[in-house]
Amino acid sequence: MGDRGISRMRLSGFLRKEVRQILRDPSSILLGIVMPVVLLFLFGYGVSLDPQAVPVALVVEDRGPPARDLAARFALSRYFTPVPAPTMAQAEAWVRKGRIDGVVRIRWGFSAEVLAERRATVQLVLNGVDANRARLIQNYVRGVVATWEEMRRVQGRESPRARVAVDHRIWFNDAGDSRHFLVPGLLTLIMTLIGTLLTALVIAREWERGTMEAILATPLRTDELLLGKVIPYFGLGMTGMALSVVLGVTLFDVPLRGSLLLLVALSALFLLAALGLGLMISAFTRVQFVAAQISVVAGFLPAFFLSGLLFDLQSTPPFIRAVSHLVPARYFVTISQTLFLAGNVWDVLLPSAGTLAVMAVVFLGLARRRLAKRVPPP
């Protein structure tokens, strides 16, 4: 047996076995094709950081026109659903029960202060259990009050004064819709699931069932074994990916400002890195339970927490930031958010793509080396 190359016949035979194994077990089809669609659908609707129609209690103790006018601004805002509360004590009880997220209290004497051009105070109590939500609500309340003040000034009912006004412009996402950055991030999560999780089991399963030793006894080469494991799952992952992109763009109106071709190419690169990680875990652990646990710890959870998908990595301690550089998902989140929202920014895409390529080579290489060792000593 002098040939060291890849034999098409051996490879196609092995591929046929792998594909049939996938097709026979509904669970992997379910995970590869049905899950991405269901998950994207659920997450697209379910994952949003934008508070809307926030229930806040309004305690209007003052009956003057300015007080009523300000209270009316809250009803007009699309961010709030004001609930009139008779007393502050009642409103506070609602906050404690979690029925409302905050209380806006316009005290007695407010109108008199405003009309006398003295500083008037509006009290705001927030339910801080969900800190991020509370912070955003706080910004909204400030916005409502500032708009009201601005309006009075324009109408000449309040004297003008030199001060700094802030104009905000959010590039790439004018409306500040969190879904626009979360859907590209969710693609990463879905592909990690298929790439790392599904493949983490495939070699471990062969070891656990004892079929690996049978495969090793055949003339199948290590490269062919690896290719046979990679190709079917690569196809499955790319199909899931394509479905998710179509759904994201059509159902959730996420813009795709970069090139589609580039998205496909870089997704393929990320999928290879994710597959490589899965196969490496599988080749090293050889037990499905352990492989599953490790792929969650090394694949899914970091893709969620350490990828910048949701949380800002720059605000984490240096140690965590260092760890995040080892997570393939981090680079793909950058790539997909940039491609979807900003466009073909080569200065961002190239370094990330390069890192993913290196990771794919390293992971697949390590998996191959481990496989080449053949039967372990007892």
Partner: protein, 373 residues
């Protein structure tokens, strides 16, 4: 008495299966602890050192004193000065900065003339949540600057004319770490428990030993107890350990009662064991069980209110999340840690967990016998 001894032997066997293999032993102990620290530090919505660049076209004392306030803030970190809007565009495109503070050339004149001076803030919207929070910080700094401006001669009106007296309850400094870490124990223990429980029956199915168990004198409910206890013990241990860690390491306050914590975590872990065993009972292979576990875990984590609030979801999805045990335990844990709830106060979260456990555990026991390979 005999039944008790039978169950005991089964429980011992189940523990041995997990603890015998050094790799298995490692993965039930080490990852929860690693995850706790990594996610405890990583999962925060609060921003520090937001990188920004300055485009000061005004170059007046007023613009410099405004920009100096940003340099002094712990939330911001200046990385450079820009000369044109094109440079600003490029810096944001390349993610070199999160935001650019642009002071237009007529800023100084406007202020001197008593008109509002405009500060333009350009933000990278690729993560719009970070942009929104950073915007809030910018507004805060500018407000403080405005308040310090001298009032124009002859007019007494202070700025701002309306002052917001803001106070946050339960989390006074609005630290998002408190929100996340208080419920981290629930998430992490769930992953361990679902995987352990979903494997327990499927492993025996795959190796053919489950049929032997079924023909042995064990009753289905005895098998159920035997299979539940190890996952239950590991899950509860993890959850309690991590709850203690939240208080001792991350400094999250614990204002509620310990019985409430025990009740919430026990009800939750039992419900999760029920789901895990049910997945296990309907699977015929290990792979199916593991994939089933993930198909459950992914939506359960993401649609739980752990990172993104339930209230932001559409109505139909909010109703659907009532079936998610994760949602109830996260809500209960936050109530207990931050608000100071006792057992009675978390009852609205407790009973759904009990109902879920009451449906899934008998369901799993029934499936043991009725699903044959």
């Amino acid at each position: 008495m005999k039944a008790l001894r039978r169950i005991l032997t089964l429980v011992v066997k189940e523990f041995v299966v997990v603890m015998r293999d050094p790799k298995s032993r490692f993965v039930v102990i080490a990852p929860p602890i690693i995850q706790f620290f990594v996610f405890g530090y990583a999962a925060t919505f609060d921003l520090t050192d937001v990188r920004y660049a300055v485009l000061d076209a005004s170059r007046t004392p007023a613009s410099r004193s405004l920009l100096a306030r940003f340099e002094g803030s712990p939330h911001f970190q200046q990385v450079g000065e820009l000369r044109s809007e094109a440079e600003a565009r490029r810096a944001i495109d390349r993610q070199e900065v999160r935001l650019v503070l642009h002071v237009p050339s007529d800023f100084g004149e406007d202020l001197l003339a008593g008109r509002p001076g405009r500060l333009q803030v350009l933000l990278d919207g690729r993560n719009s949540n970070v942009a929104a929070i950073a915007m809030g910080y910018v507004d805060g700094i500018v407000q403080a600057y405005n308040a310090a401006l001298p009032p124009p001669p002859g007019e007494g009106l202070p700025y701002p004319a309306i002052q917001l007296a803001e106070r946050a309850w339960f989390n006074e400094n609005l630290e998002s770490r408190w929100t996340i870490v208080s419920s981290l124990g629930g998430i992490i223990s769930m992953v361990v428990v679902v995987i352990l429980a979903s494997l327990s029956v499927a492993r025996e199915r795959e190796f053919g030993t489950f049929d032997q168990l079924l023909v042995s004198p064990f009753r289905p409910w005895e098998i159920l107890i035997g299979k539940s206890l190890p996952s239950l013990a590991f899950g509860l241990l993890d959850a309690l350990l991590l709850s203690a860690g939240a208080v001792l390491w991350f400094g999250v306050p614990f204002r509620g009662s310990i019985p409430a914590l025990l009740a919430a975590l026990s009800a939750f872990v039992i419900a999760i064991v029920g789901i895990g065993l049910f997945i296990s009972a309907i699977s015929t292979t290990l792979q199916q069980a593991l994939l089933g576990a993930f198909i459950f875990v992914m939506p359960a984590v993401i649609l739980s209110g752990f990172t993104t609030p339930i209230q932001n979801m559409p109505e139909w999805l909010q109703t659907l999340t009532l079936a998610n045990p994760m949602r109830h335990v996260i809500s209960a844990l936050r109530q207990i840690f931050l608000v100071g709830a006792d057992t009675a106060a978390v009852w609205p979260q407790l009973w759904p967990l009990v109902v879920i456990a009451g449906l899934t555990l008998p369901g799993a026991a029934w499936m043991f016998r009725h699903r044959t390979t």
